[in-house]
């Protein structure tokens, strides 16, 4: 009898473990089986929950801009929506895809999540399948002319298979350099506008123990920015055409651009060992701590023009110095074509509502507030972290005080105005994950001398 009981206990225990595992697996797979079914189901449940208590408890996943800004957005949102509690869950930019993928597949614990355009981390093409279509909600919020009110890229780049999967929060522009104007003034260095001046500036700084231009070329995304800028310098728009299949990667322009890219390393514009360091944290830290005078960063770097933000970021870079005047400049005309001032943009991040959100309505309210309301967008604009997607909103320059208004106000305002006026020129939005990887490989290979420019261009063309 005892033996039979023991056997029974063992079998029951085994069966319960197996069935528990199977049960959760079924639940997870149901969540991904059909977007529309899941959306409908969660919509019903959210209505029920809202009707039941009117309180919502949401989790917002993302990688940017990071604490404490996200908590500040939530606090501001709660002034209008006090019954919605939102918890910000942050991962690093590199870990985001690995973390969010199983979380979304599991179907629980993710109500709102950040996505980005194209092949960047959190790509909407991959994760959009887990998000509801927000077009109707946006139309109800902004009216039938909502397309006229928002940045075109915020809608186009977030549309997957005809459905608007996320609401853009702000755009980022890249293709320019940032310089430490105080260092340029101190050493009486001319701001570079072409290859020779750029090299001369780097040589002068090097002679004074300062790195002229710093790039973390071990982090491929920023290499792509530099390469894109070189391509636009040679023939504006051709890079974007190639990403859309309207031009060949074997075009001589791309080979010439790879040659110029290599020349940056060979002629000492790129600092020694550039391929061995990352843009974040190393290159960023070198620039913010005054060890380097120039860096390839985009509009997200504008926030460092605010003294408090810069001081905090300088402290993170182990610098206790006072904030300095950094200003944006055009990418130098290294091809000698006269084509300068081109930048490229993407939605930095957009807010998606999970099909499995515990309260879809409350989550949608937040996404709309952040991406389409005047107050939410004004907050984004004034942080100078992103350029708002709502066209009617721009930074309130009466409230925004830069570190050195005399040196910074004019170039920063001109930079943002010029950036917003640039034509359709996506940053990563048109680049597939495979092309992204191939381009990073090619740029590293050409820079290190293991690949010729011609072979590099051929490798880009070979990407399916």
């Amino acid at each position: 009898m005892k033996r039979r009981n023991s056997l029974l206990m063992a079998l029951l225990l085994t069966a319960s473990m197996v069935f528990t595992a199977c049960g959760s697996a079924e639940g997870a797979s149901a969540g991904t089986s059909s977007d529309s079914t899941a959306a409908a189901a969660t919509s019903e449940s959210s209505e029920a929950s809202t009707e039941a208590g009117g309180k919502a408890d949401l989790v917002w996943w993302g990688w940017t801009p990071g604490s404490p800004l996200n908590e500040q957005y939530i606090a501001e949102f709660n002034k209008s929506f006090p019954d919605t509690k939102i918890t910000w869950k942050q991962t690093t930019v590199d870990d985001y895809d690995a973390a969010i993928k199983p979380a979304l597949a599991n179907g629980e614990g993710v109500d709102i999540f950040e996505v980005s355009a194209g092949s960047a981390n959190g790509g909407v093409g991959i994760f959009g399948g887990q998000a509801i279509n927000m077009e109707e909600a946006l139309k109800n919020y902004l009216g039938d002319d909502y397309r006229d009110k928002l940045n075109e890229a915020s809608l186009n780049s977030m549309t997957v298979n005809g459905e608007l999967k996320a609401l853009g929060v702000g755009t980022v522009y890249a293709g320019n350099l940032w310089i430490n104007q105080d260092l340029f003034d101190k050493y009486n260095v001319k701001v570079p506008t072409n290859f020779e001046e750029w090299k001369a500036a780097c040589d002068t700084f090097k002679a004074n123990g300062i790195i002229g231009f710093v790039q973390g070329a071990g982090q491929g995304a920023f290499n792509m920015d530099t390469y894109h800028a070189i391509c636009d310098n040679i023939e504006p728009g051709l890079f974007t055409k190639a990403t859309r299949g309207e031009a060949e990667w074997t075009d001589p322009v791309f080979v010439q651009a790879l040659d110029l890219w290599k020349k940056l390393f060979d002629e000492g514009i790129m600092q020694d060992g550039a391929l061995g360091i990352q843009q974040y944290p190393e290159a960023n830290n070198m620039f913010l701590s005054g060890q380097a005078a120039m860096v390839m960063m985009g509009s997200w770097y504008t926030m460092n023009c605010l003294p408090d933000t810069m001081r905090a970021n300088m402290e993170a870079a182990s610098s206790t110095d006072e904030p300095f005047a950094m200003v944006p400049i055009n990418f130098p005309d290294i091809a000698g074509t006269g084509n300068t001032g081109y930048v490229f943009c993407d939605i930095d991040y957009a807010t998606a509502v999970s099909v499995n959100a515990s309260d879809v309505q409350a989550a949608t309210d937040f996404a709309l507030w952040l991406g389409a309301s005047e107050e939410g967008q004004q907050m984004i604009a004034d942080s100078l972290n992103l350029v708002p997607v709502l066209k009617s909103v721009s930074p309130n320059w009466d409230n925004v005080v830069l570190t050195n208004p005399e040196k910074q106000n004019k170039p920063v305002q001109e930079y943002l105005t010029n950036a917003m006026a640039n034509p359709d020129n996506p940053r990563f939005g048109g680049i597939s994950a495979d092309l992204n990887q191939a381009m990073m490989d090619v740029l590293a290979g050409v820079a290190s001398g293991t690949l010729s420019s011609e072979d590099g261009a051929a490798r880009l063309a070979a990407v399916e």
Binding site: D97, Q271, G273, G276, E282, D434, A444
Partner: protein, 288 residues
């Protein structure tokens, strides 16, 4: 009846739930991974496309895959030899009359317990041209530029040096324990017969530690095959895949590029290589 009682008496019945659970989980995971390796799937979409062995065909034509295999072999061969040579020498030295032996043991073993994630930023700084090593060379006026991590020709060797630094303590501690088991009288007899220290070490002590060497080889093979943290955190597999390993490549394909099917095919290959490696080292141990 006797047989049934013996099953119960030897405690098999009590480990049955955990045993079955473990078997189901491991074999299910292997089967799932193999099944996934015949699919084209991004990890989230509700549909998976069956592609047969296309992922395997792609793998054998993939230059990066072969580069990862080559890196793994070079990495294993060099780190295994250097790490175990140093571990063996340190163990032999500490079996002689050395002052403050405990301090030395701690110093040798401490790197083993430091997490690679915490050490990676230190090494990135140390081996950058603006780092501590460069400053040292500048200070002593040695004209060397420390840009080794940025060059495909040297980056792998820097990683191997870091791994040797980190895991020599493990080899040392195992050799130290193995040497404690060797009969001292036998060593004394050898020395009376005229064998010097080096010869005694090579002909008496080293063969006496063969089991440890084989165990370390097996751990080394498996460790090399699943290498991920150090290359990922220090070089992210670059420059130009010069420090790519199967682990980093599986992560790159599965997570970064959302080719879950291809990543699964690479994982199956990794499993096959780990089993073959373990089998060969085990066979070498029994062959004696």
């Amino acid at each position: 009846m006797k047989k049934k009682l013996s099953i119960r008496n030897n405690g098999m019945i009590w480990i049955l739930p955990a045993f079955l659970f473990l078997i189901i989980m491991i074999y299910y995971s292997i089967f799932f991974t193999f099944n996934l390796s015949t699919m084209d799937w991004d990890g989230l979409s509700p549909t998976m496309e069956r592609v047969g062995f296309a992922n395997y065909t792609k793998m054998f034509k993939d230059m990066v895959f072969w580069k990862a295999i080559k890196n793994t072999i070079v990495y294993f061969a060099i780190t295994f030899v250097v790490q175990n040579f140093l571990g063996f020498v340190f163990a032999a030295i500490l079996h002689s009359d050395v002052k403050l032996p405990t301090v030395h043991k701690c110093l040798i073993f401490i790197p083993t317990i430091l997490a690679p994630a915490t050490m990676a930023p230190v090494f990135r700084l140390m081996f950058s041209p603006q780092g501590m090593l460069q400053k040292f060379f500048d200070f002593v006026h040695i004209p060397i530029t420390v840009d080794w991590l940025s060059k495909p020709q040297t980056a792998l060797y820097v990683l191997m040096a870091i791994v040797v630094w980190e895991f020599t303590g493990m080899s040392f501690i195992l050799y130290y324990a193995a040497m404690s088991q060797i009969d001292k009288e036998m060593l004394e007899a050898a020395q009376i017969d005229g064998a010097g220290n080096i010869r005694t070490l090579w002909t008496m002590v080293f063969p006496g530690c063969k089991g440890t060497t084989v165990s370390l080889a097996m751990l080394g093979v498996i460790g090399a095959l699943k290498t991920f943290d150090i290359p990922y955190l220090i070089t992210t597999g670059g420059p130009d895949h010069a420090t790519e390993f199967l682990g980093t490549y599986i992560y790159r394909q599965g997570i970064r590029q959302s080719h879950l099917g291809y990543a699964a095919a690479l994982s199956v290959m990794l499993l096959v290589m780990a089993v073959v490696g373990a089998f060969l080292t085990n066979k070498a141990n029994k062959g004696d």
